[in-house]
């Protein structure tokens, strides 16, 4: 019996929610703020990430919702019996943001390990945003990824049957 677990990490970031979402809402920039992810390629709703250990993971982007400011992806390819990552930017109404990175996974151990990575990622995200500089913040400033222009809503379509 494989157990599942859910691990949530959060950081309050001293920047407005729109600014935080500019980074979180760019799936192609994850490697610029997630320690241990060295590269990141997005094609349609498939993202391939390369870890510092050399491992590559294929992910399906499930949700990229600028209204809720919620980004979700799922690692595909059999490593997990269950996986769902959710990144939220929550407006606290005082020009600060609560960034929340959740991992649901089976095996449970992987939720814990990915949770650790997510915590480190939020630390780095907060560091860059509050300093208003850093690789991810600079990349956002350089303009959108060609594929992230106003677009149709393919992202939330996922075959589940």
């Amino acid at each position: 019996m494989t157990t599942r677990a859910s691990v949530r990490r959060e950081r309050r970031i001293g920047r407005p929610v729109e600014v935080v979402w500019e980074v979180i809402g760019r799936p192609d920039l994850l490697h610029l703020w997630y320690p241990g992810i060295e590269a990141c390629e997005v094609r349609g709703d498939v993202r391939t990430i390369t870890l510092a250990t050399g491992m590559t993971l294929e992910e399906r982007i499930l949700t990229l919702d600028p209204v809720q400011r919620r980004f979700q992806y799922r690692v595909t390819g059999g490593l997990f019996q269950e996986h769902l990552a959710t990144v939220d930017a929550l407006d606290l109404g005082d020009h600060t943001t609560l960034a929340v990175y959740s991992t649901d996974a089976a095996p449970a151990t992987m939720a814990l390990v990915l949770g650790g990575g997510a915590g480190a990622a939020l630390d780095e995200l907060a560091r860059q945003l509050e300093a208003a500089t850093g690789p991810a913040v600079d990349a956002v400033r350089a303009g959108p990824h060609p594929s992230s222009a106003p677009h149709a809503n393919h992202a939330e379509r996922e075959a589940t049957s």
Binding site: T63, Q68, R70, N153
Partner: protein
């Protein structure tokens, strides 16, 4: 004793489906007769081209930005102001029979009053009004509900289940198993939302609505004043009228709509000159809203499918006209004919094949915005028959009911009493109508703001996930009645556009507060 008000709405009915408006497919002698005796409006414009916001505007006399029902699925607060309550307080008996839709239908928790009422088996419930006074739900003493479907929690579905369970499955399933608007095709052409329905005509919702209306009226005292909103679910899809009636219109002989270009290249060129959401939906690249089957691609629509849909739509329109005739006869039998005001309209139109599209969406053109509207004032009021050409809004209905009842319009009403003729329009009506679209669907946002004025229709596409804020539409109604040519970028019309946009921005006023959340797709 004052004037009685029969307010008749249909759902998603095009202007051109009525004989009095030039329609040649459906026969609508009853409404045509009312138009002949009363006032026919050539350009009645909704505040929104979807049900819940538009109906909320009728009831409150307010724009969507004020009543807050900014898209389908956002319930009108129970304590929103209600023109029905205004009438009730001056002694009117009040009822709404048929489709309400001030609250979402899809409601497994049974949270919304419309869905709770039939379960509770009571004609209404008390709740707190906008002014803190307790009264019946939205001012209606009697509520009896139906919608397009034989399923669900409302009175008609329960009545069918109790009395005629064998016919339930004959209706089209409006939602598929994923609770999305169903794309399944039927009839002779496989057109979406079409099904042959063996239900006897008497048990179909159009006649049920008339029957229930008549029953309520029959229970009133002879000297009661009353306001009755009779709200037919048709001719909104699904197009599944009783199959016994299909012979009324031979679909193969139905002419294609003027707004439909049979030539694909021409059709697509027209779409391409409009803001991008037009072509994206046509091609199946964009599903921005819940009002059409998400898995149906408009580009697949065939001419024959369109003919069949048009024919069935006309059948539904005829049934409504006949049902209305029965109600009017019943009213006459009560001796109320001379005191009776009848207003007939709809909440919004239907694309109906224009530009190769069906159903509705963020498309602010005549297909969805030019509505049937007829006001037949009480014969004893002495109002002369007329045609009003200038634009009026559904926002003007509530003040009109007040005027009929002889009470002042409430300060929260934004419209003005409908003009009784063209001169009255020029004198009293602002001459502009604002129509708003806002939608959110899983992160995809679309917003349109439209002004109808002086023979122009001008739409600004708000920045969102589809538009960048630079796009818009501009049509001159007299020389382009089908809105085939988008003149937004025409340099010769730049000052016209600037003036209309400035007026639009002015008219919208400040937006206050955040949007209320969407509770359900519909």
């Amino acid at each position: 004793m004052g004037r009685k008000i029969l307010f008749v709405t249909t759902d998603q009915q095009r202007y051109d489906t009525l004989g009095c408006n030039g329609g040649a497919i459906a026969r609508t002698p009853v409404i045509d007769g009312l138009a002949g005796e009363g006032i026919r409006y050539e350009r009645a414009v909704p505040a929104s081209v979807v049900c819940m916001p538009s109906r909320s505007t009728m009831l409150t006399g307010q724009s969507p930005r004020r009543h807050g029902v900014w898209m389908n699925g956002v319930p009108l607060p129970v304590d929103a102001p209600s023109a029905a309550e205004v009438l009730r307080r001056v002694g009117y008996r009040t009822a709404l029979v048929g489709k309400p839709h001030f609250e979402p239908f899809l409601d497994p928790f049974g949270r919304f009053t419309e869905n709770r009422l039939a379960r509770l088996g009571v004609p209404t419930v008390d709740s707190l009004g906008h002014d803190g006074l307790v009264g019946p739900h939205r001012g209606f003493e009697h509520l009896e509900f139906a919608t397009h479907s034989s399923a669900g929690q409302l009175h008609y579905a329960r009545w069918l289940a109790e009395n005629h369970p064998e016919v339930i499955d004959g209706f089209y399933a409006t939602l598929d198993r994923d609770l999305e608007v169903n794309a399944d095709g039927g009839g002779a052409t496989g057109a979406p939302q079409v099904k042959d329905n063996p239900v006897p005509r008497d048990w179909y919702h159009t006649d049920w609505v008339a029957d229930r209306t008549i029953d309520w009226l029959d229970a009133l005292d002879a000297d009661d004043d009353w306001f009755c909103w009779m709200s037919f679910p048709d001719p909104h899809h699904p197009w599944d009228p009783p199959e016994s009636e299909l012979g009324r219109v031979a679909w193969r002989e139905v002419p294609l709509p003027e707004g439909y270009s049979i030539d694909r290249a021409e059709r697509e060129a027209i779409l391409d000159a409009k803001p991008r959401h037009w072509r994206q939906w046509y091609d199946g690249q964009l599903v921005s809203n819940f009002e059409a089957p998400p898995s149906w691609v408009p580009a697949t629509l065939t001419a024959d499918q369109l003919r069949e849909v048009t024919a069935r739509n006309a059948v539904e329109v005829e049934l409504i006209d006949e049902a209305l005739g029965r109600v009017l006869a019943a009213i006459a039998a009560r001796g109320w004919a001379d005191d009776l005001d009848v207003i007939v309209t709809t909440d919004h139109g239907e694309l109906g094949g224009d530009f190769g599209l069906l159903f509705k969406g963020p498309y602010h053109v005549d297909s969805l915005m030019r509505l049937p509207l007829v006001w037949r004032p009480a014969p004893n009021s002495g109002v002369a028959p007329a045609v009003v050409n200038g634009p009026v809004g559904l926002v003007d209905l509530a003040p009109t009911w007040c005027a009929i009842a002889g009470v002042a319009p409430s300060p929260w009403m934004e419209g003005v009493r409908l003009p009784v003729d063209e001169a009255d329009h020029v004198d009293r009506h602002p001459g502009r109508v604002i129509t708003e679209w806002d939608s959110e669907r899983f992160g995809v946002t679309v917003g349109l703001r439209t002004i109808t004025r002086d023979g122009w229709v001008c739409t600004v596409c708000m920045p969102g996930s589809v538009h960048d804020g630079s796009e818009g539409e501009l049509y001159r109604l007299d020389d382009d009645p089908l809105q085939r040519e988008n003149r937004w970028d025409d340099p010769a019309l730049r000052s016209v556009r600037d003036d209309l946009v400035a007026d639009l921005v002015d008219s919208l006023g400040p937006v206050t507060g955040g949007r209320r959340p969407v509770e359900a797709p519909v």
